[in-house]
């Protein structure tokens, strides 16, 4: 069995574990008493270690092992939870994320020794019971009692007192024995009167890399330093004189050195590999808060409209200026607030290179994926939903667009196909294009298929490219001759179109047969504030999202025809079904005697006419959901508050008619 086929499963599961570790750490920091959280973290690290080991990802397994050890100490209460511990753990999760991604993508592994050392330092620290605060007090008291006098006497007898701060090299083996050689060397020329940490701790290796000794000697500081640095595996030895006046503060000198130890290990921690993805100047904001802000801004927009209407009644120009200002400020505020919801489409695009690589490989095709405009931003709720449609379209390009290499070369094309993914802004819309230089749409094959599926009458001869594209979006249409594992799973382009339309977007396809296919998705930047056409229906104001509106016409009642007992109108040789919007919404039907305004709206790909009582105009509206007491109503997407304070329903064109 080839274990590499589990790689994707491993990656997905490992990412889940890391995500839950992150969440649990946040929870644990808030609520350190919760034994359940720390147990969960321990299990997550343990599972991760096991998985990584099974996959043969040794770096990951090794690092997770250290993390597991720290979590185990936290679990058993041997390690006290401090901010430092939490920080080290958070950074460790970051390091793990990096290690995981590098391992998965088979990139070179960044050094992570520093982070391992931070974890190991915590493990050593844990065994330094009793807890550090009492330990510190105990230590300084001992120094005062025992050694101040000794140092004074020593200095009086012509000795010098030094504090010798020794740092071992990283990865020193048998540290306690190394310390022993330092003692051995020093004791040839000096008397060691104090050590921090205490000798017993040094012997038990309950320290990181640094220890401080207070010695009395007749040698110079320089000589002592040379002596200690002449010992193998000593990184540095700092020798400081303790004067007679300072003898009383000998304790502080040692304490200070100990603090430096802590500071230097802090520095080591912060130098740990926190890189790339964490350096993004991104702020995590709860969606709930954002939604509230958007709502508030919505109110402000409404109030602006109210003021504008009020002032329009008067004529004072300075008042108008004030209102202009309010208009400007609120507009800016609106965009600033909206920007909080905006995320780069990179989040979605990021998964495609790997996907294209894998799919191309399994199809035996050579495909280059080019990505442009990945920093283009759009509403996060749209980003969350646009992934699947894009996946589908890219799979289509790989399966049905790009030809096998030999076929391409025979056609005089480069052997490797190209799929180009491009995102860009256009007004208040974002355009996402998926282009491939494959074989394009085969109009005749689409026609044959459509006839076969009864989507076109038998014997249809010529169809245009436009008609062919429309057929592609019909439910149940598929031109794939062999059902492939991914593209041909019965989810057609109609499903893609449905998602795009649910996001108030549109989708179009252009193709040059034999050369290329370009699919363009046009989406609004945000779903929170939209442009709408306001119409009057049975005395009520109703908003129709502008991107669904094709045109407005006016008809006379005699233009209404009947086909199969259904009212229709003829518009430029097209037969369009005609509905009374009032009736659709359960209002009193419109009086059809006079001239009738009709809004042509696109409903699930076809044009439909809706009779309304009157047109009011275009306006930006803030969408308020109707959830709660009212719930989901067919044909209604939500509501908005108008300038006059009244409520208008927003039409959901995709579900308005059955």
């Amino acid at each position: 069995m080839d274990i590499s086929s589990f790689r994707e499963v491993f990656a997905a599961e490992a990412r889940d574990y890391l995500q839950s570790l992150n969440e649990d750490l946040l929870e644990f920091e808030r609520n350190p008493q919760d034994q359940g959280t720390v147990d969960d973290m321990f299990r997550a690290a343990h599972s991760l270690k096991g998985m990584a080991g099974t996959m043969g990802f040794d770096e990951l397994a090794e690092f997770t092992h250290e993390m597991e050890s720290v979590l185990d100490l936290l679990r058993t209460g041997e390690l006290q939870l401090t901010t430092e511990v939490i920080n080290v753990l958070f950074r460790s999760v970051d390091t793990l994320e990096l290690l995981l991604e590098q391992t998965i993508s088979e990139e070179p592994i960044s050094p992570y020794d520093e982070q391992v050392r931070s974890l190991k330092a915590l493990i050593q620290h844990a065994s330094l019971a009793p807890p550090p605060t009492t330990g510190g007090e105990h230590f300084s008291a001992e120094l005062n009692e025992f050694n101040r006098e000794t140092i004074k006497q020593g200095i009086a007898q012509g000795y010098q007192a030094f504090s010798v701060s020794v740092v071992l090299r990283p990865n020193t083996i048998l540290k306690s024995v190394r310390v022993f050689t330092v003692f051995q060397a020093l004791e040839q020329v000096a008397t060691v009167i104090q050590s921090n940490p205490p000798i017993q701790d040094l012997d038990d290796e309950k320290f990181d890399r640094q220890f401080v000794l207070v010695i009395l000697t007749k040698e110079s500081a320089h000589h002592i330093r040379q002596l200690v640095e002449g010992i193998p595996e000593i990184e540095s030895a700092d020798v400081q004189s303790i004067s007679l006046a300072e003898a009383g503060e000998g304790a502080e000198a040692v304490e200070q050195a100990a603090e430096e130890t802590a500071a230097s290990s802090d520095a080591a921690v912060s130098a740990a590999p926190i890189r790339g993805h964490r350096q993004d100047p991104l702020v995590r904001v709860e969606t709930e808060r954002l939604d509230k802000l958007i709502n508030l801004v919505g109110e402000l927009v409404i109030s602006r409209t109210q003021v504008i209407e009020m002032v329009k009644g008067g004529e004072a120009t300075d008042r108008m200026g004030a209102v202009d200002q309010l208009d400007r400020i609120t507009t800016e505020l609106q965009y600033a607030a909206m920007s909080l919801r905006m995320v780069p489409i990179k989040q979605v695009f990021d998964r495609f290179p790997r996907m294209v690589r894998d799919l191309a490989q399994s199809r035996g095709k050579e495909i280059n994926l080019e990505i442009f405009g990945e920093t283009t931003e759009l509403d996060r709720s749209i980003v969350n939903q646009i992934g699947d449609p894009l996946v589908h379209l890219i799979r289509n390009s790989i399966d049905h667009g790009i030809e096998p290499k030999e076929e391409r070369i025979a056609k005089g094309k480069p052997g490797a196909g190209t799929i180009r993914l491009n995102a860009r802004h256009e007004g208040s819309y974002i355009l996402i294009e998926i282009m491939d230089d494959g074989k394009g749409l085969d109009v005749n094959r689409i026609r044959d298929k459509a006839v076969e599926r009864n989507l076109l009458p038998e014997g249809t001869k010529e169809i245009s490219m436009g008609e062919a594209v429309n057929l592609l979006f019909q439910p149940g249409f598929s031109t794939a001759e062999i059902v492939t594992d991914l593209s041909g799973r019965g989810v057609g382009l109609d499903a893609v179109k449905a998602v795009v339309e649910s996001l108030s977007g549109t989708i179009s396809v252009e193709s040059e047969p034999g050369k290329s296919t370009r699919t363009t998705i046009k989406l609004p930047l945000t779903l929170a504030i939209i442009k709408a056409l306001l119409v009057k229906v049975d005395g009520e104001t109703v908003a129709i999202p502008i991107q669904a509106v094709r045109e407005n016409i006016q008809i006379e009642s005699e233009q209404i025809k009947t086909v199969q007992q259904r009212p229709v109108i003829m518009l430029r040789n097209e037969v369009l079904p005609l509905y009374d919007l009032a009736q659709c919404l359960g209002f009193t039907p419109v009086d059809t005697s006079g001239p009738l305004p009709v809004i042509i709206v696109e409903v699930r790909g076809s044009k439909v006419g809706f009779i309304v009582e009157d047109l009011i105009g275009q306006q930006e509206i803030v969408i308020k959901s109707l959830s709660g007491i009212v719930g989901d109503i067919k044909g209604v997407a939500g509501a908005t508050i108008l300038g006059n304070g009244r409520i208008a329903l927003i039409i959901d064109n995709s579900t308005l008619i059955g």
């Binding site: 048998l174 306690s176 024995v177 050689t181 002449g230 010992i231 193998p232 595996e233």
Partner: protein
């Protein structure tokens, strides 16, 4: 004049490994001993600048050999070589007069550092 080294270890493989590292770094291996007795005899005969001394060996162990050599030459420069988990023995060897210690598996850089610092 290159500093001279006597290697003491009961396995030929370890002697070979050490010789390789030592000679590559400009030292001269003047002899190889496979147990403590041989080490003491060769020390007297060759008077090397430095000795590497394994601990666990047949006939005479490394610690006894260190003590014997120190009796002959109190200025002998002996580097004790141990496996993991032989801390008490390493401490005993250092107390007996060994100047430094190396832990197997050997890290070439550590070996060279030890020779350089102990040899100077």
């Amino acid at each position: 004049m290159a500093k001279t080294v006597l290697i003491t270890d009961d396995t030929a493989f370890m002697r070979m490994t050490l010789r390789n590292v030592i000679e590559k770094n400009g030292y001269q291996v003047v002899g190889e001993a496979s147990d403590g007795e041989e080490a003491v005899a060769l020390y007297q005969e060759l008077q090397p600048d430095m000795v590497t001394m394994d601990i666990t060996m047949p006939k005479m162990d490394g610690i006894t050999a260190i003590k014997e050599i120190m009796k002959i030459d109190p200025k002998a420069r002996i580097i004790v070589c141990s496996a993991m988990g032989q801390k008490p023995m390493v401490l005993e060897a250092l107390s007996a007069g060994a100047k430094d210690f190396l832990v197997k598996p050997f890290d070439a850089e550590r070996v060279v550092e030890s020779l350089r610092k102990i040899g100077s």
